[in-house]
């Protein structure tokens, strides 16, 4: 048996294979990317910030129900808190009048509803629920308490007069970092690493792909999710994030964007490990400015981050409640209101800011429409 196999192996050893080098070099050639021209948009539309007269929130009692993780997660929940802090500074909201409660992992759905009811019973109004996991309990509680104002981040399924949805145009911010990736890619080959294959994360991928293709229609894009829908470990498995990103880099991609939560740390370390002075590799962060929060050892490969400004949404919501003008809140926090955007910390996209802003203006004035699905 062994001899026969060996003989077979030896026979095959003779034939050279024609399926290309095993290293996987990707499409070589420096400026191979056929770059389209950036749109010559109109004047930069200044984002409409808070109204001229500052709302007075000194009489408000604001309740916040955080998602799992709570404050200190350097992401979502912290961003919501930053919005509260800004409201305290700007609107005269008293810090003693802010009450925060945090969700526990794997808690029953009742617990979330109880938390919201408890805040309402203590007289907090408005109440902000952070995260789409509050959607079902909030729909129930808000119907019971029509005189309390609620807001929910990342969900727009509740159609009640006292519930405000704070949702974001993630695809628009992702479009811009897709533009940045295509402009920065030397191999005309980029990658995307998603945490879990759910519609919310697919929005990031869709925008990214469209942005890259707007710059270079022939660009190659590697796209991979760490886990399929239902298995949420994909958001907290840096080891697998590292393997997926290394696979995309080995396939030839040289700029990688992640929307994978805590697994993103593995993406950054993979990019850092493969980056050499001769062929630099880049990573793009998500949600917050990850140049500021990631491990200092990998910061130099993070060229930009897609910003999702939960803080802006929370701040604007409190302002709108204080001035009793909820109708003025945007339906979606998009580029126009600075609800999403990109970061420039580290200075690695300074040379392409003009092009990025041209695309940004084109999206704002409607000459480019970004789809939220592939």
């Amino acid at each position: 048996m062994a001899a026969a196999l060996l003989a077979g192996a030896l026979v095959m050893t003779g034939c050279a294979r024609d399926t290309g080098a095993a290293g996987g070099g990707g499409s070589a050639g420096g400026e191979a990317c056929a770059t389209g021209t950036a749109p010559s948009g109109g004047a930069a539309a200044a984002p409409t910030s808070a109204a001229a007269t500052k709302p007075d929130a000194s009489s408000l009692k604001v309740g916040v129900a955080y998602d799992i993780g709570g404050r200190g997660d350097q992401s979502f929940n912290d961003s919501a808190y930053a919005g509260i802090e800004k409201a305290v500074a700007d609107f005269g909201l008293a810090e003693a009048n802010v009450k925060e409660l945090t969700a526990a992992p794997n808690e029953p759905e009742d617990a979330a509803a109880t938390r919201l009811r408890q805040l309402a019973a203590d007289g907090y109004n408005p109440i902000i629920a952070v995260g789409f996991k509050y959607a079902t309990p909030l729909a129930k509680v808000a119907a019971e308490l029509p005189n309390t104002q609620f807001a929910i981040v990342d969900d727009n399924s509740i159609d009640l007069p006292n519930v405000t949805s704070l949702v974001f145009a993630e695809e628009q911010g992702s479009f811009l970092v897709g533009v940045a990736a295509a402009l920065k890619s030397k191999a005309c080959h980029i990658g995307f690493v998603g945490g879990v294959d759910v519609p919310l994360i697919q929005k990031f991928e869709a925008g990214y792909t469209q942005g890259a293709k707007a710059v270079a229609p022939n660009i190659k894009i590697e796209s991979k999710y760490i886990t399929p829908a239902g298995d949420f470990t994909g958001f907290q498995d840096p080891q697998k994030g590292n393997v997926v990103a290394t696979g995309e880099l080995d396939a030839g991609a040289d700029v990688i964007y992640h929307a994978a939560g805590a697994s993103g740390a593995g993406v950054f370390s993979a990019v850092k490990a493969k980056s050499t002075p001769d062929s630099p590799k880049y990573a793009i962060g998500v949600d917050s400015d990850q140049y500021l929060t990631a491990d200092p050892a990998v910061r130099d490969v993070i060229i930009t981050s897609m910003l999702k400004r939960v803080d802006v949404a929370v701040y604007d919501f409190i302002g709108a409640v204080a001035s009793n003008n909820l109708g003025a809140l945007p339906k979606i926090f998009d580029l126009k209101v600075d609800g999403v955007g990109y970061s420039t910390t580290g200075g690695q996209v300074d040379d392409i800011v003009a092009q990025l802003d041209a695309y940004k203006n084109a999206i704002i004035n409607g000459s480019i429409t970004v789809q939220s699905t592939k």
């Binding site: 294979r17 095993a22 290293g23 200190g72 997660d73 829908a229 498995d237 393997v243 491990d295």
Partner: protein, 418 residues
Amino acid sequence: MTAPATSRPVPAARARRLPGWATSMLVVLVGLVVLSITATLTGQLQLTSAGTAQAAVQLLLPILFAGLGGLWAERAGVINLGLEGMMILGTWGAAWAGYQWGPWAALAAGAVFGALGGLLHAVATVTFGVNHIVSGVAITLLGAGVTKYLSTLLFLPVSANPRQSPPLRGFDSFSITPLTDVLDALVRANLVFVTDVAGILQGLLTGLTPTVLLGALAVPVTYLLLWRTAFGLRLRSCGENPVAAESLGVSVYMYKYIAVIVSGGLAGLGGAALVLNPGQLGYLEGQTGGRGYIGLAAMIFGNWRPGGLLAGSALFGYVDALQLRAGGDAVHALLYAGTILAVLVAVLWFAQRYWLAAVWALVAGLVVYLVYFFVDTIPSQFAAFAPQIVTLLVLAVASQRLRPPAADGLEYRRGEGD
């Protein structure tokens, strides 16, 4: 290409059986040939690339340590479902010691924290006779809870995050340079089989860390200790027939304690390997993601033997690396490899005159080939679970020959044999 292998049937009923190590080498060789043929004919070069092999090593390490932990406990007759919890304790301990005193301290502390979990399991199951499953599940829950509490207490002030430790310094990785250079040249020579084997070897010999070496050492050391020493014989006798062991003067309680504590220590090392892996150097809540349970499955896969356990975790790590790196297309190519394997197995069984089994193997091979032929790529939802599916399939084929220790999971009281 399989012609040489198929044209000469193996003579049946051989007088002398091949020794175990030779059979293993043969299996590895057959696997390499099949992968090489598949990579060549399907063009899926990721099947045998150095990157895949390296990723497989990283992914299999925590599973291997956890599986070895399970092996030690179950060989002494204690089922250890608490491996996951001991692994979580290990990740926390490794991160806590690692960010202060470096990677060696991380390894040591990971083992110590895991061993503490093992000690608790031993006290519950050996001394107090608690049901092994109940104690194991409780320790898994406890591990998650204790580390959450400790992280809030000790990591929050330094990392400003109750779910994460500050980043630690890892081991410097090294490669066996003269050898990998030769292998690199062979990979670039782009020859069938040579390039495939060289690619895999190159992946195994680059980016080595002390953690990888420790894992490679732990398998033979476990084998020698448990199967080649008097200590090991006594320990295993506690898992096969504790009453008989007791009648021969073996202190069954002591051996069970030792086995379960070592088991916890090994699971803790698995946690440390996860913390020290190049993905993210540090503790992150929930980062074990069920690897302890997969280690337990790898142990059953390996028939409660260290070599088989290594094969089980390697298979799991390899398929996981493949699907994470190359996705549905590479898993699709595995179907092709499966067809070749089924044909080989059928030929082997025909030669041994297991007619019915051989026909079934051929039918299975045909079905797999038809799927390969009519499907372009494996949907990502299935591809993600390819490691579990492959493991299940191999288990289904091999399960008739699995034999757990006879007294595994049974309660034992001193003097009950009187």
